[in-house]
Every structure is written in C-alpha cells, then in structure tokens.
C-alpha cells in the first residue's frame, strides 16, 4: 500500500536518507527504528508529503505524496514529532476543528473518551501535561478516520502507564484495519506493536523483517552458566554456534546463534563437565539494534583509518 523505492534526501550537503526502500502492506503496523539522526523522521516526512525527496519514488495507495498531496491529505493522518498547538486553543475545540476538515470524521467525543482526555476537553493546550499533549496529538491524527496513520515518536515523554495505554490504542487501530507507520527509538515499543520493521542507520536500511526475525538474526541468544570445573575458551569456541565468551567470577556467559543452551549442555556433558545455574535468554531487538548500529560505527571507523 505504501512503497518507497531508492529514496534519497539531502539537507544541503548532508545526506539524511541514502537509498531507502521498503513496502508496507495494508493493515499492518510498520515500524521505523534507528538511532537519533538516522533518517527516520525525514523518511516519513517524505511519505507524508511534507518534504520533497532528492530522488527515488514513493507511492501511497497509488498516489504520489508530492504530486497528489491534496488527495492524500484526506486519508493520511499525521502526528508530527515536534508540533504544538496555539497555547490557548482548547482540547475539544482542536479536535472538533480538525474533525471539520475531513469528509468522514470520527466522533470527536468518542475519540476523546477512548484516549482518556475527555476530562480535559475544556483545558487550553498550554495547561496540558506532556502525556495529555501527546494524546491530543494522536487524536488529531486519527479524527479524520485515516487509512494510513503516520506516528512519529509517539510515546516520547510519556510515563509508563500512558505509554501502555497508547500502545493498546494503536493495537485497536490495527483491529480497525488502519495501516500504521510508527517511528520510534524504543525497542520494546517496536517489539510489542510492529508487524514488521525497518532498522535505519546513517540513512540506509540495515534490516527489514519482523521484530522476531531481526532479533534472532542479529541479536543471537545468550546463555549464562556455572561449569562444575574450569573450561577453557578453546573448548567453548569449538562448540557450534558460540560467538563470544565472557567470564565473571564462576559464571561464564556465552553469546551466539542457534540452540545455544542445548549445544552447550550436550557438548560439555560429553567431556564430563556438568553445568548449573543456567540462565538462557533469546536475543531481543535491543541486542540486534545495538549490534547492527555498532557494526556501522566500527565500519565507519575503519573507513576513516583506511
């Protein structure tokens, strides 16, 4: 439903986005994750038509965000990263005003209710807490009943409870069939909400898959155990799947891929080593994120040295 092909965007001489491509399917929650300054916001701003790319093509439900921006505005709801309202504009007024812009808006009252900001309906924007401002911003993005919602840094600045509420709101949007593009730098958020995601770093896509697949591919799993007798690194490295070894007191922590715990237990049993206090953890997105962005940093470093 949304296709981005070879997107390039520069600000002056700085390349913000360099050859980004991905497709988003109808009804899915698609995440864009990456460190600050990776090019996530620039990418979604090009998709929403707020910026014009240097090259590459974007199609949103068959329309071009740059050429058909007027048509797109009807069915694309946008929540911008840094956007405030006039300080004396009240919550209810803002939502009703935005509802009046669209052909088939949601009922503003129900929306305020479901976002938990009905009780501040008459409060001016400047009196709202960070969480309330964020929820109002979401309300404005959703009030037009969009088919595509672009949400940038949705839960930044929210307390944990408000974050969870916001998440369930997004999940309800998926149930209603809204396609969502979610920009975030929170890995737990991406893991919980996104059907698929693109990890962007230095303006390029480093990984594009489901959160689980990215985590498994790049993150690897981690096993910590206490061996019954000393085992040297050489022996451990010979076990299939083992990548890294760390030692702390009597514990050994091994990271690697595949069924790491199983491989360790059987290989060590074969040489007569029993292991206890086993703690195994599947790789998560956070590990993958750190690994993929660190790889980039070290390759950049090498480039400078060479």
């Amino acid at each position: 439903m949304v296709t981005v092909e070879h997107l390039v965007k520069r600000y002056g001489r700085r390349v913000a986005v360099n050859d980004v491509s991905f497709s988003i399917y109808e009804g899915e929650i698609f995440g864009l994750i990456g460190p600050n300054g990776a090019g996530k916001t620039t990418t979604v701003e090009c998709i929403s038509g707020l910026r014009t790319p240097k090259s590459g093509s974007i199609s949103v439900y068959g329309l071009s965000p740059q050429k058909d921006r007027n048509k797109m505005r009807e069915f694309v709801g946008v929540q911008l990263q840094e956007s405030a309202l006039p300080p004396r504009l009240r919550v209810g007024e803002a939502v009703n005003l935005f509802a009046s812009f669209y052909a088939n808006p949601q009922d503003p009252n129900e929306l305020l209710e479901s976002l938990g900001i009905k009780d501040v309906e008459y409060s001016p924007f400047r009196k709202l807490s960070g969480g309330q401002k964020q929820r109002l911003s979401i309300a404005l993005a959703l009030v037009g009943n969009p088919r595509l919602a672009i949400l940038d840094e949705l839960t930044t600045g929210l307390d944990p409870e408000a974050r969870r509420e916001t998440w369930s709101l997004i999940e309800r949007m998926r149930e209603r069939g809204v396609t969502v593009i979610l920009v975030t730098h929170f890995m737990d958020e991406a893991e919980r909400l996104c059907d698929r995601l693109a990890l962007i770093n230095h303006g390029t896509v480093r990984a594009l898959d489901t959160p689980e697949a990215i985590a498994a591919k790049a993150g690897g799993s981690r096993v910590r155990f206490a061996p019954s007798q000393a085992v040297d690194d050489q022996t451990l490295r010979a076990i299939p799947g083992v990548n890294e070894i760390e030692r702390k007191e009597r514990y050994v922590t091994v990271t690697g891929t595949g069924d790491l715990a199983g491989a360790l237990i059987s290989a060590l049993a074969a040489i007569g080593v029993r292991i206890s206090d086993v703690e195994a953890r599947a790789g998560n997105l956070e590990d993958a994120f750190i690994k993929l962005t660190k790889d980039d940093a070290s390759s950049v470093g090498k480039g400078v040295q060479a």
Binding site: R73, P86, N96, S100
Partner: protein, 259 residues
C-alpha cells in the same frame, strides 16, 4: 452520488469548515486580545485624551482650519489599524514557529485558510475601529465631519490594505517570536510617529512634513483628514498608499513561509 451534487456537497463542506475555523480563530482572538486592545481599547483611551485636550484648547490649530480632535482623530484611527496589523506577527509567527501551521498543512485544510480567517477577523476589528473612532470623535468630542464619501471609503480601504501588508511583511520576514516582538515594536513606534501621534504633520515644517506625508502611516492620516474633515480628496496620499500596498503585498507574498 452524481457529479454536480458531489461538487455542491464539497463546496458546502468547505464553507462549513471555514465557518468552524472562523469561530475558533475568533475565540483565540478574544483570549489573546492584542488586536482587540490595540485596535479598540487603546484608541478609545487616546480619543478621550485628545478630546479633553481639544476641549481645553478650543479653536483651530494654527492655520490648519481644524480643531485638535479633528486633526488627531485620523491619527488615532490609523494607530488602530497599525495595532491590529502588528498583532498578525504576534500570532502567526508563533503559530509557524511551534509547528501549528505545518500540522494544519497535513490536513485537507490549506494553512492559507487559517491566514484568511485571521485576516477576516482583523478586518472586522478594523471596521469596528472606524465606526467607534470616527463616530466617537464626532459625537462625543465635537469633531465636525465634512465627509467626501467616495474618497473616504477609498482612503480607508487603501490604509487598511497597506498597513495590514506591513504586518504580513513582518510575518514573512521574521523567523521567530524572539525576533518578531522587538522588531514589530520598533516598526510600531516609527509608524506611530509618522502618523503624527506626537507632532501632527499639519504642524511641522519641511522636510519632516513631506517625509510624514509620504510615509505609509502619514499618507493614511492625510487621506483620512482630507476626506473626512476637509471635504476633499488627497490624490497624492491615495497614490502613495496604493504604491505601498503593492510593494508590501508583493514582499509578503514573495517571502511568506508556512513552516
């Protein structure tokens, strides 16, 4: 739905949403009453002040053939226009700076409608200022009107056009509120001086008098004095205002940014 009916419902919807927008902008204008206080409140105070001065100094001022209140009523009216006009950068520069105009530009409503709504509200205020100040000057403080209706109407329209265009130039050129406020302040004082708040152009000698008459606010004052109190028309002043309106209008359109 058939084509024409659909077109009709679309235009109906666009009118309905403009009315909704006007209502919201009007409420905001009441909650942030820069334009209201500057355009109606302050002029009312000045009118009372000059009315009192006029009653203490009856008779014509020098060889002008006009009393104090007759000479200063047009100045006060032009001041009202100036204050309404500089409320534009006050709100619009902020709305752009905080990303509100950008936010609106992602909806089916083009942010130019926001500007249009704001201008309509300011025009209504300007019209109210005309009624209050001219009638107030005449009925309460004894200014005797000798109105030439057509030149008077044209004078008001051109004065509002050029002075509002100055406000829009400020909106276009000043990027942030921190810069906009002091710059707008300086512009207001210059325009107030040239409109003759401290010394009336009718009382000063050349070259200051010529400078005042060919300044944006001085020309407006001259045009209003002649068409409302002298029963004539100052074509030089009308032409001056038209030229300023075109120049400032061009600059404002040329450099206007929504984000």
């Amino acid at each position: 739905m058939t084509g024409p009916r659909r077109g009709e419902s679309r235009s109906h919807r666009s009118r309905a949403r403009f009315v909704e927008l006007l209502k919201v902008q009007a409420k905001l204008a009441l909650r942030e009453p820069y334009a209201l206080l500057g355009g109606l409140g302050l002029p009312a105070v000045l009118l009372a002040l000059f009315g009192w001065i006029s009653s203490q100094n009856p008779g014509n001022v020098g060889s002008t053939g006009l009393t104090v209140i007759e000479l200063w009523t047009p100045t006060i009216l032009v001041l009202a226009f100036i204050f309404i006009s500089v409320s534009l950068p006050n709100t619009l520069v902020r709305d752009r700076e905080i990303g509100w105009l950008r936010r609106v530009s992602t909806t089916p409503l083009h942010p130019s409608r926001l500007l249009a709504a704001q201008l309509i509200i300011d025009l209504i205020l300007a019209a109210a200022a005309v009624v209050i100040i001219i009638l107030g000057g005449a009925l309460l403080f004894g200014a005797s009107l000798h109105v030439q209706i057509l030149p008077f109407g044209v004078s008001l329209l051109l004065a509002i056009a050029e002075i509002f265009a100055i406000g829009l130039v400020l909106v276009a050129l000043l990027p942030t509120q921190t810069i906009a406020q002091p710059v707008a302040g300086v512009v207001v004082f210059a325009l107030m001086f040239l409109a003759g708040l401290w010394v009336n152009p009718a009382q000063v000698g050349d070259p200051l008098r010529t400078i005042m008459y060919y300044s944006p606010s001085g020309a407006a004052v001259k045009a209003v004095v002649d068409s409302a109190f002298n029963g004539g028309a100052s074509y030089a002043a009308l032409l001056t205002m038209a030229v300023y309106a075109v120049i400032f209008g061009y600059i404002a359109v040329r450099y206007f940014r929504w984000e």
